[in-house]
């Protein structure tokens, strides 16, 4: 087990190196100087040089990389070009919002997809299965930037039904009920894309489990269908769903840009979007690195967790 852990963590090193190095190289791709936009009218070339020196852009890439890693290890991701505040402050303020949204969306997707997956597997080939299968392949083709409109049009529209507010945010620490009211539609928009994938995955795993002898035994003991499905069949069928949920959480944290910018939610995605439009390179860099590290770490944890719960994988 320890050897596995060591191997997985070792495999992270080249990936983390490539990710951080690529983001440090980002300013070199900018047309002109990354700090040029900070200068007011009537500034001299000397001012530009001073600013570049202050932000370290006058150094070569390897030197910058080593300095950046040194600072990053102490939690310092540089300064925003716009506000001159530490990038880390912005990220620590925005990260919990995105995390909440991602967790909320994941829970919503699981709550809907698990019963549907069990149901379609139990009725495989029947009418219910085909209808839900058709719906889920339709749902799979709705991109997030389309589903936000559908949701807002039907549920946050004074002409239709004003159940939710179309935009805005309240921090969960301030007012829980309000927070849920604001977070519901964005989380649902994120969840809609995941539901069909979860449902399909669980359905196919359940179908395999339902062929097993212990299901036959359970049924021959006279246990009810729903008891067999949920108590005997669901658990051994849910390993890959658990894995995929973990991976999905990582993907959702990096995939909230559209939802956050549409619903005006002060999370990482919105911060990144604003930084891109403002050409605020250090903020883009910091956000990308944090998202990538969270994503990679979650994937590794899921890998390890998977071998913990399923002994068949550990043998490999």
């Amino acid at each position: 087990m320890l050897r596995l852990l060591g191997r997985k963590l070792l495999a992270l090193i080249p990936v983390l190196f490539l990710v951080t190095f690529a983001t440090t190289a980002l300013p070199d791709l900018v047309d002109g100087s990354p700090v040029a936009q900070m200068l007011g009218p009537g500034s001299t070339p000397q001012d530009l040089k001073d600013l570049e020196h202050e932000f370290g852009y006058d150094k070569s890439l390897p030197v910058r990389y080593v300095t950046w890693v040194g600072h990053a290890l102490t939690g310092d991701l540089g300064e925003s070009l716009k506000t001159r505040t530490p990038v880390m402050d912005g990220i620590t303020e925005r990260f919990p919002v995105t995390l909440e949204l991602a967790v909320f969306a994941l829970l919503m997707a699981l709550i809907v997809a698990v019963p549907l997956g069990v149901w379609t597997a139990a009725k495989a080939g029947g009418r219910v299965d085909r209808v839900i299968g058709g719906l889920s392949s339709g749902l799979l083709s709705i991109p997030t930037f389309v589903s936000v409109f559908i949701l807002v049009y039907f549920f946050a529209n004074p002409n239709m039904m004003l159940a939710f507010k179309p935009t805005g945010w309240e921090y969960i620490s301030v007012d829980f009920a309000k927070n849920i009211e604001f977070a519901f539609l964005p989380a649902l928009a994120l969840a809609l894309a995941e539901i069909p994938q979860f449902q399909r995955l669980l359905r196919s795993d359940m179908l395999a489990t339902l062929q097993e002898d212990f299901i036959l035994t359970a049924r021959s003991k006279g246990l009810s269908t729903s008891y067999v499905l949920f108590r005997h069949a669901l658990r051994p069928s849910s390993f890959s769903l658990l894995t995929v949920s973990g991976l999905t959480l990582g993907r959702l944290i990096g995939g909230t840009v559209i939802v956050e910018s549409y619903f005006a939610i002060p999370g990482l995605g919105q911060g990144m979007y604003q930084a891109i439009n403002g050409k605020d390179i250090p903020v883009v860099q910091g956000t990308v690195v944090v998202i990538a590290i969270v994503y990679v770490l979650l994937n590794t944890l899921v890998d390890i967790g998977y071998s913990l719960i399923d002994p068949r994988v550990r043998a490999r």
């Binding site: 080249p14 047309d31 080939g125 299965d129 559908i150 097993e212 994503y295």
Partner: protein
């Protein structure tokens, strides 16, 4: 392979353990293999023909459209199905939805097709090379594709768009790079499976070199899997390009793109919903059609490993 390593296979022909009628079980099992072409598939093919025709016309004969994509010709925000030939209505500036959607199709199709071709050629080649040589070559190729896959995909494109002015070329290039690792993995997996077959051994025994084995033996036999995967990838690419143009980080105006049209109309949602839902519908139908066609191809060629 020991039994420990493989997930338990469902025993075919096992007695009825689930409380289902035998007919249901039979249908569930043969569902994929012997599915007849459904109406949905024909609809998908018809829709993709329309989209491709629109893209092609806007590329080679933009004169056939009744109005230009960049010029207003009538009232703004006309409803769809109210006039002919502009049966899709007009946008917020009174420009033709029909023409703009056709030009948007051109953008989407070029981005998707070029990226997929680049991904298939480069990714496929890397996968075949990795599968044939194994060892260090495979390790290096895997390292790079793992690193690319380690990024949440949209984030990489967003980071690039913070430094590059977006254009058709830069968007296509960025998306093409992102499609490479998926194709590398798929080709590698299916080529490794093929290279254990007898015909490869025979070819080796007859003295065939790596070039001959890779291109004449492995390539044709990995092709069906790659083909059906690339249709699904096209759908993913269209969504990715749409997401970028929805955020205003793709092809700049006045050139229309589907995502850009949706973005431009987003404030009209409650009063003029058709402004948003016309381009949304076109985009949805295209993605859906590609998914239907790709699923069908995948069922036909029985491809299992299809994770991007």
């Amino acid at each position: 392979m020991s039994t420990l390593e493989t997930a338990p296979e469902p025993a075919l022909g096992a007695a009825e353990p689930t409380g289902l009628r035998p007919s249901q079980i039979k249908r569930a099992k043969s569902g994929k293999a012997r599915k007849r072409p459904s109406i949905l598939l024909w609809f998908a093919i018809a829709w993709m023909s329309i989209v491709l025709l629109g893209a092609l016309l806007s590329l080679i004969a933009p004169g056939v459209f009744p109005h230009e994509y960049g010029k207003a010709f009538g009232d703004a925000k006309q409803k769809p199905f109210a006039a002919w030939p502009e049966f899709l209505g007009t946008d917020g500036l009174g420009r033709s939805h029909l023409t703009r959607l056709a030009f948007g199709a051109r953008v989407s199709m070029i981005v998707a097709l070029v990226s997929v071709v680049v991904g298939v050629v480069i990714g496929g080649l890397l996968g075949l090379v990795a599968a044939y040589f194994r060892g260090v070559t495979e390790m290096i190729i895997d390292l790079f594709s793992d690193a690319l896959l380690a990024f949440p995909p949209l984030i990489l494109l967003l980071a690039l768009s913070s430094v590059y002015e977006p254009s058709q070329t830069s968007i296509t290039a960025g998306l093409a790079v992102l499609t490479i690792p998926g194709f590398t993995r798929l080709t590698k997996a299916s080529a490794i499976a093929q290279s254990n077959r007898e015909y490869v051994t025979v070819a080796k025994a007859m003295g065939a070199g790596p070039g001959r084995i890779i291109f004449k033996e492995l390539l044709p036999n990995t092709f069906p899997a790659v083909m059906s995967y690339s249709v699904i990838v096209m759908a993913v690419l269209i969504v990715a390009e749409g997401s970028l143009s929805f955020l205003g980080l793709s092809i700049p105006p006045p050139m229309p793109s589907w995502g850009g049209m949706i973005n431009a109309a987003k404030d009209d949602l409650s009063l003029y919903p058709s402004q948003v839902f016309v381009p949304c519908g076109v985009l949805f139908l295209t993605v859906f059609s590609l998914n239907v066609i790709g699923d069908r191809l995948r069922a036909k060629f029985d491809v299992r490993d299809t994770k991007l």
